[in-house]
């Protein structure tokens, strides 16, 4: 049976040093998968293999297979920019581009598609509505992206990725830099987005993982220790390492 998103025998190296070893996992479509684990366990590293963003840096390499609908993502004949359009990422710290809110959203959009002005406006509105930001910024679309609050900026970054209609959203600790109120809003957002997108989220907040994910992967020392649907993992963890980590929360 072929899965929507599969990782087989993935290894990752910084130079000669292995940072990820023998990663095998499957991700289901339209579900939220959380990756948890202590610092340095390789959670972010794993996430960053999915959109091959590690290729920006010399000396970082990956071996193994990552398959989306059966197609290998690590192959060399893949158009990387198209890949990143399909699998997009939101980072820990909000990263608004130095331009207006409107331009932030249309920036990547304009490069991938040829749209008229009105089509662009519609897409901007659509993305901002989906990101639950529209009401707050609809009157100031042309003010700077950096003028928003932290939580709003992060939602802007999410809107940005939604605008290019990816299939998979990679979220790297998206709320760790935000206050509890903004965190709550974004968690609600993720819950909504699941209906249309597939979400893979790294978090160090176990309660958050429990709240919003369907499947949880627990990592330590660059390996997957245990993975199961969230309820099972948290109520009946099997591996002693998992028990220790969850118990210490």
């Amino acid at each position: 049976m072929s899965h929507y998103f599969e990782v087989k025998d993935l290894h990752f190296f910084y130079g000669k040093v292995a940072a990820l070893a023998k990663i095998d996992t499957t991700i289901e479509k339209n579900k939220t998968t959380a990756i948890i684990g202590p610092s340095g366990s390789g959670k972010s590293t794993l996430l960053r293999t999915f959109n091959r963003i590690y290729e920006l840096y010399a000396g970082q390499s990956a071996t193994g297979k990552i398959l989306l609908n059966g197609q290998s993502l690590l192959a060399s004949n893949i158009d990387i920019n198209q890949l990143r359009k399909k699998i997009s990422m939101v980072f820990q710290k909000p990263t608004p581009f130095p331009m207006s809110i409107f331009d932030n959203i249309t920036f990547a959009l304009k490069l991938h598609e040829n749209l008229t002005k009105s089509e662009l406006s519609n897409k901007v509105e659509e993305a901002l509505v989906q990101a639950a930001l529209w009401n707050e910024v609809k009157d100031k679309l042309h003010s700077a992206g950096t003028s928003l609050s932290g939580g709003q900026q992060q939602r802007l970054c999410i809107a940005r990725t939604l605008a290019i209609k990816p299939d998979i959203l990679l979220l790297d600790e998206p709320t760790s830099a935000l206050d509890p109120l903004s965190t709550g809003k974004i968690e609600d957002l993720i819950h909504e987005l699941k209906k249309e997108y597939t979400i893979i989220m790294v978090t160090h907040n176990l309660r958050q993982a429990q709240r919003i994910s369907d499947k949880t992967i627990f990592m330590a020392d660059g390996k997957i220790v245990e993975q199961a649907d969230t309820h099972t993992l948290f109520t009946q963890p099997k591996d002693p390492q998992t028990i220790h980590y969850i118990g210490n929360e």
Binding site: I53, L56, L83, Q92, T161, I164
Partner: protein, 276 residues
Amino acid sequence: MSLLIKSSITRRIKNQLFTLFCWLTAIVSILVLLNILFTLLAKGLHSFNIEIFTHDTRNLGLRNAMIGSLMMTGIAIIVSAPIAILTATFLVESKKKSRLVTITRFTNDILLSTPSVIVGLFVYTIIVANTRFSGFAGIIALSIIAMPMITRASEDVLYLVSPMLKEAAIALGIPRWRVIIMITYRSAKTGLITAVILATARIMGESAPLLFTSAKNSFLSFDLTRPLESLPVMIFENAMQPYPNLQSLAWTAALMITVFVLLMNLSARWIARDKT
């Protein structure tokens, strides 16, 4: 007991002397600076009148010198700034820690600390010796001086652009070159502009490299293939002449350059101010 008091006094005196010394150094330096500025103003304003702008150096004016300086400085910056910024981009954005990057940076530093008179000689040997004195040669000399300055400053600024910001753009599927132009350059815009302004201020006052390249021309000229008058060279030629009116004119030219340079530096400072 008394020994204790005595060493305290010696120590205290030493300390006071040290503090006094530090203050003196600053005061003397400021006084020298003030002397220079006041002399510049006093002697420079002496010959300052409307004829400076309407007459050329052969008629006790500075028109041709100002135009020559502006032309050569402007074109030199237009030529050198893009090259310098692209070089800095190369140094910062190159993935590999290649030898080319280290060698380029090192060579850039060498050019940066090369005396400007040597640059002038260099341009003389390859251009002027084979053709003639010209504005072009002057522009090339100034460009060679400006380029490493802008490269160095740009590199520092581009380096500071948050990698996370760049990654966020890359993660949206935007090709690297667009990320650099539309995100990185934009983020670093203020710093890059400051670097260019400071380089402009610097080469506006350069005299040595122009002595053997653009030389002098007491007539008004816009022809870059011929010798071109410039303010710094004009000062060099006239300051040591035994004629008071020529000396006075040289002071006026010095005042104009200094005002221009100070304005550029202040505006660069103002642009770079902390806008938070």
